[in-house]
């Protein structure tokens, strides 16, 4: 550990100084353990020069950086020309690495996770709810809950599936809340099944055909199907979540399956 390199650090650290005396400190600062770094490697270690920035300041700085990088990406991934030593390394990082950092309280890592998986979660929530109107709220709420529960995440590499389940559960909560206030028929639109298969055949892409088929599934079937196929819920979990019997769930999934297979026959 003797070959210590000088770090070009511009880090603001958190110093919560109650009754902090702003008088200049001795150049040596407080007594320091001498192992590791030689004195010449820490020219800025006078405590009087430390920024009294709080945790939040570090965080704000980081998220500004992310926003800037995201903006650059939207503009076509132009070269990063700020004083960043390199492009945000977290954009390359795996979910597992990001989740481990997020669990340590790294908001920036969590933001990268949210940007990476948020769009899918929003689309999924929109399909479950039957309308996109509430999906932003649901997804934001789900990500907040997930942040609070990160310590419970057993396998960080599986964070996407884990998020999917939380989004499912939040969406179901939303459905329940609606049910208490509204007549079900008022928000559960009748299935638009009159569309002819020709419409599907006309679709340019298989994906479009599937998307369209999912859209035309009656909401109750679609919900059961997506919870099962996308979020990996078991039949009994779906039954409990949606307040129906297991056999009803099985029936709905069977109908959804038959419908989707028929719809996709042309693409076989």
């Amino acid at each position: 550990m003797s070959d210590v390199t000088v770090v070009q650090a511009t880090i603001r650290i958190s110093l919560r100084a109650t009754r902090f005396a702003a008088n200049p400190s001795p150049a040596q600062g407080p007594s320091r353990p001498s192992r590791g770094a030689s004195p010449s490697t820490r020219p800025h270690s006078r405590s009087g020069q430390r920024d009294g920035a709080a945790d939040e300041e570090v965080v704000v700085t980081e998220s500004r950086r992310v926003a800037a990088i995201a903006a650059r990406e939207r503009e076509g991934g132009a070269a990063i020309t700020t004083d960043d030593p390199r492009p945000d390394p977290l954009l390359d990082a795996s979910d597992a690495t990001l989740a481990a950092r997020a669990r340590d309280g790294d908001i920036h890592a969590y933001e990268v996770i949210a940007r990476r998986h948020g769009p899918l979660m929003r689309v999924y929530a929109g399909r479950l709810l039957g309308a996109d109107a509430d999906s932003d709220d649901v997804v934001q709420d789900a990500f907040l809950t997930a942040w609070r529960r990160l310590a419970d995440l057993e396998n960080p590499a599986q964070i996407r599936n884990w998020l999917m389940r939380i989004v499912s559960s939040k969406s179901i909560d939303r459905l329940r809340a609606r049910r208490e206030h509204d007549d079900i028929d008022a928000w559960d639109p009748p299935a638009r099944r009159s569309q002819t298969p020709d419409r599907v055949v006309e679709a340019r892409l298989q994906m479009d055909a599937m998307w369209s088929a999912l859209e035309r599934l009656p909401l109750d079937q679609r919900r059961c199907w997506l919870l099962r196929e996308t979020a990996g819920y078991s039949y009994s979990e779906i039954a409990e979540a949606l307040g129906m019997s297991v056999s009803t769930v099985r029936g709905r999934i069977a109908r959804a399956r038959a419908f989707l297979i028929t719809e996709m026959e042309a693409w076989r």
Binding site: V59, E111, D208
Partner: protein, 199 residues
């Protein structure tokens, strides 16, 4: 599939004598253990193929749609970050000595972890993962072992990489804290491919 929704009746469809329900369960189990009866039927294999396609496309079509969505992320992510910032948990308090007895200096464990992450991120070819301080960081002079996990860029010399990372962490903590770091354990637990090369 034309029966009224909500009825408990299952469509009793069969393929070559096997109920679609059974075929679906068979597919869900990864087609193991192998069922010679099902696998011996061309019609069943075709049905399983269609079903697998529908399963795969269900999720893929959502992902496809998500990728095509206009970027509306700013709004909810902004709100999310605002909420999270209010909930930062500082962790243990790491004292920093000062000659003036009236001065009470300290740094939170979360901030110290942030220092370690940043110094790791400043190193090319590595992305830091979890950081753990083992030992009583609240007591000055206590021996502390720093445990970090990290992902290495594909092709890096892992020994050199972890040596440099260890040195950086030691240096940073010596500069900004008074932790008595006796060891830095680096575990490379992931390898990543750069999404794009730095310009």
């Amino acid at each position: 599939m034309t029966s009224d929704d909500g009825s408990d009746a299952l469509p009793d469809e069969t393929v070559d004598g096997f109920s679609v329900e059974r075929l679906s369960d068979y597919l869900d189990s990864g087609r193991t253990p192998r069922d010679p009866g099902i696998e011996g039927s061309a019609a069943c294999r075709l049905y399983l193929h269609s079903l697998a396609q529908v399963h795969e496309l269900s999720r893929a079509s959502l992902e496809d749609e998500a990728a095509r969505e206009p970027d509306r992320d700013g709004a909810w992510i902004g709100g999310l970050l605002e909420s999270i910032k209010k909930e930062i948990v500082g962790g243990r308090r790491i004292p920093i000595g000062h000659p003036d007895a009236d001065v009470d200096l300290g740094i939170t464990e979360a901030a110290a972890r942030g220092l370690v992450r940043r110094t790791g991120d400043a190193q090319s070819g590595v992305v830091l993962g979890a950081t753990t301080f083992v030992g009583d960081v609240t007591a000055p002079g206590e021996p502390i072992t720093v445990e970090v996990t990290a992902a290495a860029r594909y092709g890096e010399d892992l020994a050199r990489l972890s040596d440099e990372l260890r040195a950086r962490i030691v240096e940073t903590l010596a500069r900004h804290t008074e932790l008595n770091v006796v060891a830095v354990d680096v575990t490379i637990d992931d390898v990543y491919l750069p999404r794009r090369e730095a310009p």
